[in-house]
Amino acid sequence: MLTERIARLNDKVRNTQSYVDLDRARLITEFYSQPSMDNYILRRAKAFRYFLENKKIFIDEDSQIAGHLGGERFRAVVVHPDVTKWLYDDFETLDKRPGDNIKFLPGDKEELRKIVEKWKGNTFGDFAAGLVDDDMKGMLDAAVFTHGVSNQSTMNHSPDYDSLVKRGYRYYIDECKRRLSEHVVSDVYDMEQRIAWQSMIIVMEAIIHFANRYADLAEKLALECTEEKRKAELLTMADNCKTVPEFAPKTFLQATQLVWFNHLAQMLEVAGGDHSLGRYDQYMYPFFEKEVKEGATEAYFAEIIHEFKLKVAEMWNVRCYNESLADPGNPLWMHIMLGGVLENGKDACNELTNVFLRCMRDLQTDEPCISFRYHRNVNEETFRLAIEVARDSGGHPAFYNDHTAISYLLSLGFTLKEARNWGICGCIEPHVLGKTDFQSNPGYFSPIKILEIVLHNGTDPVTGKQLGIPTGDPKEFKCIEDAMSAYEKEQDFFMEKFTILVNRTLGAHAFTLPTITGSCFSVGCMEKGRLLQQKGSNHHYSAVGVSGIANVIDSFAVMEECVFNKKYLTMEELIHLIDTNFEGREDMRQLLINRAPKFGNDVKQADKYSYWLIDSIDTSMKRFKDAHGGDFTVLVATQAYNVEMGKLTNATPDGRLAGTPLADNASPSPGLDVNGPTAVVNSLAYSDELVPQSGLLLNQRFDPTVVAGEKGIDIIETVFRTHFEQDGFHIQINVLDDETLRAAQKEPGKYQNIIVRVAGYSAYFVSLSEEIQNNIIERTVQKSV
């Protein structure tokens, strides 16, 4: 049961109209209108300080934890006119989007329009757009790949919360000061270190000051408060905001407040959002344990956990118009990880893990993304509790396999002990908490578009442009190996273009838009005196999102079986069929669908192309390093790009019609996996999940009647365990029948609380556009009989 206070907070988070908060736009613009010869990094630090000193703040009457993005009320949408080019380009869409429900306060739209005009042509996004060569532009327009992180800096920060909650900011400020005092400039580039430490000090002091402003406000409100209980709470809040983030927290609430301030600061400093919240059940456990011994009840912790989650859920990360379509429901990808192993390999589940999971039964939120790490010796009761919560509460948590993640991280150069302390950033990508400069979404890469171009000898049939290299007349392909080899050549060509663009963009981050808060608590940056974007961290890699793999796998299986084996048709006829979108030839489309095996049915003839495809993408990208010296890794996940990219892709050999969505994530094409969840799991296993080092995202939708009761938990557990036993990395479930979802489409008011997994994140079903809703309904429902 929720307390009335949490119920009210939940109501405010869900039902306050989201509005554009102009504070940051105004103050940053004001700051940058002052002439200065200061170094650009110091100038970013000081701009942020100026903003934190002057932004409006408020304390909600139901809160125990201080700090909001907005200055006056809940659901503030902070905009970054200095960073985002799209804010100018898509300005008129901001309050008229199908997915985002955002309004302006009276007069604010006009004011923001003027601000945006001032920055026109000189934002970070403009700088990044200037890095795109003409040929790359054609590839971007055709959606061969996307230009990721071109309107933001490093997208994923993973602060070292394990250490931060033991130390507080003052420790790090003193460290910077000590290093500065010992520092000698013997080479001109040594200046970079001085600047890095100075900027870190400025930013940390600014956040401490920001917290102290909340302390002052809380004290003032306490003086005015006549209600004793609330007065005491406000005084506690004041004390907390004086203690953290400056000093080490002493209580569970203070530690949560510290994490919150740090997280909030990352969000306010620069556009972006996918920052990790780490292993909450681990770094919070000492505070939990201490207060349990002192007599604290589960209700006390639940109250703090609920509010913490609601604070995350309240946040906004507004995107350009097209991305708002591809990432519907305002996902933030702020991950909390539970369970897993300790540094010594032993089970890490503790009573706080259970408390946190039980809290999820009582309150479901779309964010933060909550995940659970499975391993062979996981506490069985906790594991089953997590499954029960995922089944009954809208798909959270998602489940991950320690064994596979640790194997990825070892192969990326971490030590075993480091690798065991992993969390998720971005969609499903594992990284070592506090020690990784990880770049999610350097861009999406579309293999099906490449196949489409191969089948037109280098030309994109949708735009009619020669985008690729000629790989031979596909009508002359004599065997499937000819098609595979042409595909690999074309892929290599586009991969090179793609990585060139990614690396230029990473360079733009380093020399235009470093993130200073994120750098302070990322191990390596302070030690080296280098910000994250300037290779401060000891570990770096970039995960390239790959979309619609099932369409490619199935297309190759179709070519092998229908063209080369059974000779139902020739390559020429096949290409004619897809060029004409099967017009008048539904029978042939049915042949392609039903007479060749499809991915997801545990049939090797199809599944072998899954292994080949992922391995070939990985091999192709491993020819290059990212500009931080890190690897490019494969991530098989689409978000809802499968819908957007599908619109730009003609009919495909697997029988998919032009313009319709591609297969989502690592899932089989909707409705074509007809052998149940065990076959899907086996098909994925055949891919060799150890190859894509940022993981394969597997959605499985179960019919509620099949997974009811304890026996239902047994079934899900069996599917999970077997998936993981075969090196499966990730699995998330939706337990909803079509009828419920259709009903929710008709009467959204009655189904406000249905949460569905979209892709590595969850969203309220009713908040999604109809198109995305339909795409979720079309996903295969696993019903065993």
């Binding site: 539904e586 029978d587 042939m588 049915q590 042949l591 669908i593 039903n594 007479r595 545990d602 052998n675 149940g676 969840p677 065990t678 076959a679 086996n682 009647t705 099949v706 997974v707 009811a708 009761g709 304890e710 026996k711 239902g712 047994d714 079934i715 557990e717 069996t718 599917v719 365990r721 077997t722 036993e725 075969q726 696993q782 065993s784 009989v785």
Partner: protein, 310 residues
């Protein structure tokens, strides 16, 4: 001959199971939910909603048995010679051949694919049908191969078959589900086409092999749902050493569309599934007889065994 392999099944034995449906059955129960299981020959099933009206089937039919009805090409079964030319050309799978002669190895490979799921869940393979006991050599070979690979084996059977022929399979079987539809042989004949004597003898004989047996009765309102019948079956079970559980399965109409697909009439159209109260009462009555000797009767509701105490 096999007509279906169903993965990830949870209702016929412990854990996650693969169900292998043998084609051909000596019984023809009025309520049969898998009418395509009855014949020992391949058959054509039609799924009209999948028809894309391409006319390919009509063009190849030598008997002119296929005509357009309400936008879909349908077979006149009185003319059909089962040449399967139409299923060969029906790419939309609106007309599909059911029944495939599989060799032991290919069937085993299919079962073997889910071995890890069996190990995790204590599951395995369940041979169902149709009537697996009437393909005894094939059954014995497949079951033997499964046992050698530590795959748990179960049989779901109506109990009708030649004991001397199928007993060679029994050493490789871990558990059995045997249907008992009616204790009165005359009624049994009316409902299923055969008397129950062979079945009762077989149950007694199988019982001597030490294989754990669950007796099941599909509860068909108006056919076999009298308290007398259920009590009589419970009385029979009481004497069987290897039977611990008696499961009542409520009648359902999920198989009705298959009759349409096969072009044969369904005889129980007006029969409604039994009410929960009726199921509970039957379970209670059976438990009055079974519980004193350490056995129990149940039915399954929402994935849970409902054991109504007597």
């Amino acid at each position: 001959m096999i007509f279906n392999i169903q993965k990830c099944s949870i209702h016929d034995g412990a854990g996650l199971r693969t169900l292998v449906f043998f084609k051909g059955c000596p019984l023809h129960c009025l309520w049969c939910a898998n009418p395509e299981s009855q014949s020992y020959q391949p058959e054509i099933m039609e799924i009209p909603r999948k028809c894309i009206a391409c006319r390919a089937c009509q063009k190849v039919c030598s008997e002119a048995a296929i005509s357009l009805q309400d936008g879909e090409y349908r077979i006149d079964r009185s003319r059909c010679k089962k040449c399967f030319r139409c299923t060969d050309v029906c790419y939309a799978m609106s007309k599909e051949a059911v029944g495939e002669d599989m060799d032991v190895d290919s069937l085993f490979q299919e079962i073997h694919k889910d071995r890890r799921f069996y190990q995790q869940s204590g599951g395995g393979v369940t041979f169902s049908g149709g009537e697996p006991l009437t393909q005894p050599d094939f059954l014995a070979e497949v079951a033997k191969k499964c046992r050698k690979n530590r795959i748990n084996t179960a049989i779901e059977t109506c109990g009708y078959g030649n004991y001397e022929a199928f007993k060679k399979a029994l050493p490789y079987i871990d558990s059995m589900f045997i249907d008992m539809k009616h204790m009165d042989s005359k009624v049994h004949t009316r409902l299923t086409g055969v008397g129950n004597e062979v079945i009762l003898d077989n149950i007694r004989a199988i019982s001597t092999h030490g294989i754990p047996i669950t007796i099941r009765t599909p509860v068909i309102p108006g056919c076999n749902d009298s308290i007398d019948n259920i009590e009589a079956i419970a009385g029979f079970i009481k004497e069987l050493q290897n039977v611990q559980e008696y499961e009542l399965l409520p009648y359902h109409q999920l198989g009705v569309s298959k009759y349409v697909s096969l072009g044969v009439p369904y005889q129980l159209e007006d029969t409604a599934p039994p009410a929960d109260e009726e199921m509970a009462e039957l379970v209670r009555r059976a438990n009055r007889i079974l519980q004193p000797c350490g056995k129990r009767c149940f039915y399954t509701k929402n994935n849970k065994k409902e054991i109504i105490e007597c």
